[in-house]
Amino acid sequence: MQLTLEFGGGLELLCQSVKIHKVNVDLQAGKEKLTMRDLLSWVRTNLIKERPEMFMKGESVRPGVLVLINDCDWELSGQLDTTLVEKDVIVFISTLHGG
């Protein structure tokens, strides 16, 4: 499944400072759909090159990270259970505090 993943607010530093990743994620054997839960574990294995604890906590993202699926808070689509479809754009953004 073709997906676009974007990292911002400093999270890009965990994946070699690349903000936009066009990726191809295969369905896990025996599964019919790809959920955010699956995607997060895929990201952790394939994209996060350092300090995974700065991106994840348990099976979800760490506190202070907003997840947006097609410009919409994942809280509105079911968080980890959100089913992804072809060409979805998923943004992971760390909240900023500077001023």
Binding site: G8, G9, G10, K19, E50, E53, M54, R62, P63, G64, V65, L66, L68, D71, C72, D73, E75, L76, V91, I93, S94, T95, L96, H97, G98, G99
Partner: protein
């Protein structure tokens, strides 16, 4: 010579003070001239078109004096803003917390556009390294209160509005009392505990909160606690780990980036105060300066389960006052640079001692563990830059540098070349020495306080950043 230098400095300082006073007076004169000009124009047209009528505030049915009509005329001409928007704005009060990178442009625009009462909260003084982004302040105010400086700038732009100075840090003990006096709050602070505290305070008092943040080359903006939008806690019920909280003084920020966000904060506050348009509630604006992209995303609404604004939340004023925001976020309200102490005294030396050893000609290698872009700003002579993040993989480089140094100095009585580690403030150097000890470089020593203490105690001309 010494006293001459001191005199010259005092004179220069006095010149700066007088110059500031002069420009202040000039601004006031210009202001008064505009007022006369405005009234004169009004009176002239009145007398030509119709018999003279009262020119007092109530004369036109909208409460705007002739002078106000002239000053704000370009806003009054906007059909969607007009007289109604302006008179709403003049009746409104807005509190800006933080007169820094975000607060600077926000305050300038809010003063200019005619907010009735504008409050400024900050406890800090103006510093030279603020000037690139905190554009409300001028060099003449370095060392003086940011609130005093910002208030003077606002008054110079618009002497007809009420500017209130709160020269103190916002804390749970004074926040309710201060925030209560305003209709709208702008969060232009730079730290996590303040963001939770201000949001909670706004929920308790029912005030809309225009929240902005900027770091590096990115900015974020949203309006909390306003017509169904979430509060900060709805969005971030659990604070992030402290290691994820980057600061401008560590990570850097391009001045114009908080400038853009601060301007947008002023805009959102003006929209709410004048009751025009659609506020950025339930949406968040994400600004990426480097790729020139602005993304506006839909965020969750108010959470029923939120501990502060939720359905069954009973977060009272008393609970707010008793809440420990520093403990909750594990970070201080007024952040000071971190000072770690990871190593025993016997593996640390002061910058002065290091200088003495260099003068004595001691054979040694100095490893600077700062990131490469820091090293490029300034570094000590002959230091070897190996950033902490790549130290583990570059140990052979250190071994060969030590061997080289020993060879150059010939066989001496000493047991070989020493190994010193330095960084910016003396935290990463300790982490590096711990790692080096573990990897067999047992003689590695840390320079206490890093380059900052070198600049303070050894070489006052050494640049600090």
């Amino acid at each position: 010579m010494e006293s001459n230098g001191g005199d010259a400095f005092r004179i220069l300082e006095e010149i700066e003070t007088l110059k500031a006073a002069k420009s202040d007076i000039e601004h006031r004169i210009a202001n008064l001239q505009v007022q006369i000009g405005g009234v004169a124009v009004e009176e002239m047209t009145d007398s030509i078109l119709c018999p003279p009528i009262s020119t007092n505030d109530a004369g036109f049915g909208h409460g705007l004096s002739p002078e106000m009509v002239y000053r704000y005329s370009r806003q009054l001409l906007l059909p969607s803003f007009g007289v109604k928007g302006q008179s709403n704005l003049l009746k409104s009060s807005i509190l800006v917390v933080g007169a820094g990178g975000l607060g600077s442009p926000a305050l300038l625009y809010l003063a200019a556009c005619g907010v009735g009462r504008l409050g400024i909260v900050d406890h800090d003084d103006v510093e030279l390294n603020n000037m690139h982004r905190q554009i409300i302040h001028t060099e003449a105010y370095i060392g003086q209160s940011k609130v005093k400086s910002a208030a003077a700038a606002c008054r110079a732009i618009n002497s007809t509005i009420d500017i209130v100075e709160h020269r103190e840090a916002l804390r749970t003990s004074n926040a309710l009392e201060i925030v209560r006096k305003y209709d709208i709050v702008i969060d232009a602070t730079d730290n996590l505990p303040s963001r939770y505290m201000i949001s909670d305070c706004c929920v308790v008092l029912g005030k809309p909160l225009v929240s902005g943040a900027a770091l590096g080359l990115e900015g974020q903006l949203t309006v909390y606690n306003h017509i169904g939008s979430p509060c900060y806690r709805c969005l971030f019920p659990t604070p992030p780990p402290t290691s994820a909280c980057q600061r401008c003084s560590d990570s850097g920020v391009l001045g114009v980036v908080p400038g853009v966000i601060g301007c947008l904060q002023a805009l959102e506050a003006i929209k709410i105060a004048s009751a025009i348009g659609e506020p950025l509630s339930g949406r968040m604006l994400l600004f990426d300066a480097l790729s020139a992209r602005i993304r506006i995303v839909k965020i969750r609404g108010r959470s029923l389960h939120c501990e502060v604004c939720g359905e069954n939340a009973a977060f009272t004023e008393q609970m707010f006052q008793d809440f420990d925001y520093e403990k909750f976020t594990q970070s201080p309200l007024t952040p000071l640079p971190l000072k770690l102490k990871l190593l025993p005294e016997n593996v640390r030396i002061s910058a002065k001692e290091y200088k003495e050893r260099v003068v004595k000609g001691e054979a040694h290698v100095l490893v600077d563990v700062r990131p490469e872009h820091h090293f490029k700003i300034v570094s000590l002579p002959k230091s070897l830059n190996i950033p902490l993040s790549s130290l583990e993989g570059k140990l052979p480089e250190i071994s060969s540098a030590l061997k080289e140094e020993e060879k150059c100095n010939g066989p001496t009585s000493s047991p070989g070349a020493s190994l010193y580690v330095i960084c910016r403030r003396g935290n990463d150097s300790q982490r590096a020495v711990q790692l080096l000890h573990k990897m067999g470089f047992t003689s590695a020593q840390d320079i206490i306080g890093g380059l900052e203490s070198w600049a303070r105690d050894v070489d006052p001309n050494f640049p600090i950043y």
